[in-house]
């Protein structure tokens, strides 16, 4: 069975006027895949990502993650699933400003109840892996964008999640750093077999992934196999 199974997923926002954002999404993503979801703004890609990340709920259809039906969960349950199964990487990093790099990385383990010494050790290990050891005691505002995103990646990895969800991970980075971050994600996928889903509107970023899912007006369009990384938009990377 696929790691992620979406069957006829529908989502409507009711802010005054009903807005049908996802109109019957069918999608399955296997373990170890490196996929991107591409679409223009308003296409529903962020909503899809939020649903995949159990940050938002859906109206009809089913979402199965690692064999578990993700539907009508309590806040407690979804918090627990997010904590153990999903790693988030955000466009704006979303590090906590008054915590140092290592404290930010530790935080998911804190919510798992891991003892302080143990989680500090693990966090340092992950920071080292990402070449951030000298920055462990720095606060986010003392680091560059690339460094911040790598701290965020370390934070996403520390709980050994089933999937990494990256929402425009390069959106706030310059092109050189963007390439570095994408290379890092690629390496994590290849060497450690981590399933990664990247949401982006940049074809250059999408081209780094092995499969590109195009979404338009709430419907999945073309699913492009991209193992040779020669998608038509490859040259547009900024």
């Amino acid at each position: 069975m696929a790691l992620i199974e979406l069957k006829d997923l529908n989502k409507t926002y009711n802010n005054g006027q009903p807005l049908h954002v996802l109109k019957g999404i069918n999608l399955s993503i296997e373990r170890g895949e490196f996929v991107s979801i591409m679409g223009a703004s308003g296409s529903g890609k962020s909503t899809l990502l939020n649903i995949l990340g159990i940050l938002d709920n859906y109206d009809t259809g089913t979402y199965t993650l690692d064999g578990k039906l993700i539907k009508d969960l309590t806040e407690r349950q979804s918090a627990d699933y997010r904590n153990r199964m999903i790693g988030f990487i955000f466009q704006s990093f979303n590090l906590i400003g008054f915590k140092t790099a290592v404290e930010n990385v530790e935080l998911p383990l804190y919510y798992q109840g891991v003892p302080r010494r143990k989680r500090h050790e693990l966090a340092m290990e992950y920071l080292e892996k990402l070449g951030l050891t000298p920055w462990a005691k720095h606060f986010p505002n003392e680091m560059s964008g690339g460094q911040k995103q790598r701290v965020a990646i370390a934070r996403a990895l520390i709980t050994h999640p089933q999937i990494i969800l990256a929402d425009e991970p390069t959106g706030a980075l310059d092109s050189k750093t963007s390439v570095e971050v994408m290379q890092l994600l690629k390496k994590l996928n290849q060497e450690e077999g981590i399933t990664i889903i990247v949401v982006t509107h940049e074809s250059g970023v999408a081209n780094e992934t092995n499969k590109i899912i195009h979404i338009k007006d709430g419907i999945i369009g073309q699913i492009e196999e991209n193992s040779d990384h020669a998608s038509w938009g490859a040259s547009i990377i900024k």
């Binding site: 940050l55 918090a79 997010r82 904590n83 906590i96 008054f98 915590k99």
Partner: protein
């Protein structure tokens, strides 16, 4: 736990002014509560200061002036107790109920002199039981005893303040010496305790001595006794009514005339006093609590703003696995922390204020003409109140945090992440 403190500390550090203002409101509330309770205690101690000596089961009866005409007598008649009343009190009717009966003569002013020094006093004939009934504490020597009474000895018990005036320095050496009162001399057998603010000047000599020398009538000024039997306030009142009815009959006082006799019932007086003081106490608590409420509302307000400002952060926390309970805990802990720390400061300042009151107003006696009274006696609060206040602070902190925390915990992660 450590994590919690780090987070609270950083949150407070980022908002110093706001934290200080909120903290002030809480400190002020607790400060006022403690100061009010301290002052209230001082007031109550002052009321009860003199009462303390009579806090016993002793009932004293004296004649007074009637206020109603009865049996052919006009009102305004002065009632004088005598042997008949004593016989009535000692009678078989009250066997087993009344005991420890003692009588006292009226007091007459006297000048005591020793080695050329003089001091004023009130000479009064009393019985040995008087000491126990009126809780007279001896500073030196002994009180009157049965031998003194039987042999009509010329012995005297004087007050500490008189002794100090007669013998500056080691005034306890006065016991055993002979003091002149008019043409007679009395040997001092004891000195009863008076503190600096106590102006009692009664000098006790044996009842029989007094009657033999100064008052050869069978008049009795005061009859005092203890009661056994009545337990509740109602029973005490019933007993008092029944007892005085007999005395009233002997003196043709209207049964419903409460002015003919002056009755002092230590037990019921004490109960009334306790009731009054508990009402005062409750009133002060309510006042203090109302002040504190404004502090709590302040904390709650600040926490609401904090929650709003940190919504995005809570969204991040939720995304990486914080449960609603974790967020709830964070906010409530911060709220309790603010209230507890600043409340404790207020508590300490309040305690200091009580000490200052004690050292200033507490030392002053106000002259009210015939006597001097102290407005505040020991205006401090006990450890129990401090503990109650601490507990109150924790409850208050929790209450102040509940609404903001609930709000923060309920925000959906997706909405929280969108907030800036």
């Amino acid at each position: 736990m450590r994590e919690l403190f780090v987070e609270i500390a950083s949150s407070l550090r980022n908002n110093k002014l706001r934290t200080a203002l909120t903290g002030f409101a809480v400190s002020w509330g607790i400060f006022l509560l403690i100061a009010l309770l301290g002052a209230g205690n001082g007031l109550m101690h002052s009321f009860m200061g003199n009462m303390e000596d009579f806090v016993s089961r002793t009932i004293s009866v004296e004649g007074w002036r009637t206020s109603k005409p009865y049996n052919g007598f006009k009102e305004g008649r002065f009632i004088q107790l005598d042997q008949e009343d004593l016989n009535y009190t000692q009678g078989s009717k009250w066997q087993g109920v009344i005991d420890n009966i003692s009588t006292r003569t009226s007091s007459s002013s006297a000048v005591l002199s020793l080695n050329g020094k003089t001091v004023n006093g009130w000479l009064s004939g009393a019985m040995p039981e008087h000491q126990e009934q009126f809780k007279i504490k001896m500073a030196a020597g002994r009180f009157l005893n049965q031998e003194d009474l039987r042999e009509r000895r010329k012995v005297m018990v004087i007050s500490g303040s008189q002794a100090k005036e007669l013998v500056p320095g080691d005034w306890t050496t006065l016991t055993g010496q002979w003091i002149k009162v008019g043409a007679l001399a009395y040997q001092v057998v004891g000195i009863y305790h008076t503190d600096e603010r106590d102006f009692r000047r009664s000098c006790y000599i044996p009842y029989s001595t007094y009657k033999g020398i100064y008052d050869r009538t069978d008049n009795i000024e005061t009859i005092s006794f203890s009661v056994n039997g009545p337990v509740t306030l109602e029973e005490h009142r019933a007993f008092e009514d029944e007892y005085t009815r007999g005395i009233k009959r002997l003196h043709d006082i209207a049964p419903d005339d409460n002015n003919g006799l002056w009755v002092r019932n230590g037990y019921t007086d004490n109960l009334e006093m306790t009731k009054a003081s508990s009402i005062l106490r409750i009133a002060l608590w309510i006042l203090g609590l109302l002040t504190l409420v404004s502090g709590i509302v302040g904390v709650s307000n600040i926490m609401l703003i904090t929650v709003k400002e940190r919504t995005h952060e809570f969204g991040v926390r939720k995304a990486i696995g914080a449960k609603p309970g974790d967020i709830l805990k964070l906010i409530i802990a911060e709220s309790i922390f603010i209230t507890a720390i600043f409340g404790y400061v207020g508590l300490l300042l309040g305690m200091i204020a009580c000490q200052v009151m004690d050292k200033t107003v507490g030392q002053q006696a106000v002259d009210i003409g015939f006597d001097k009274i102290q407005m505040l006696v020991n205006p401090t609060v006990g450890l129990d109140v401090a503990m109650e206040a601490t507990l109150l602070l924790i409850v208050a902190g929790t209450l102040a945090g509940i609404i903001p925390a609930w709000k923060a915990a309920r925000v959906k992660p997706i909405e929280a992440l969108r907030a800036e």
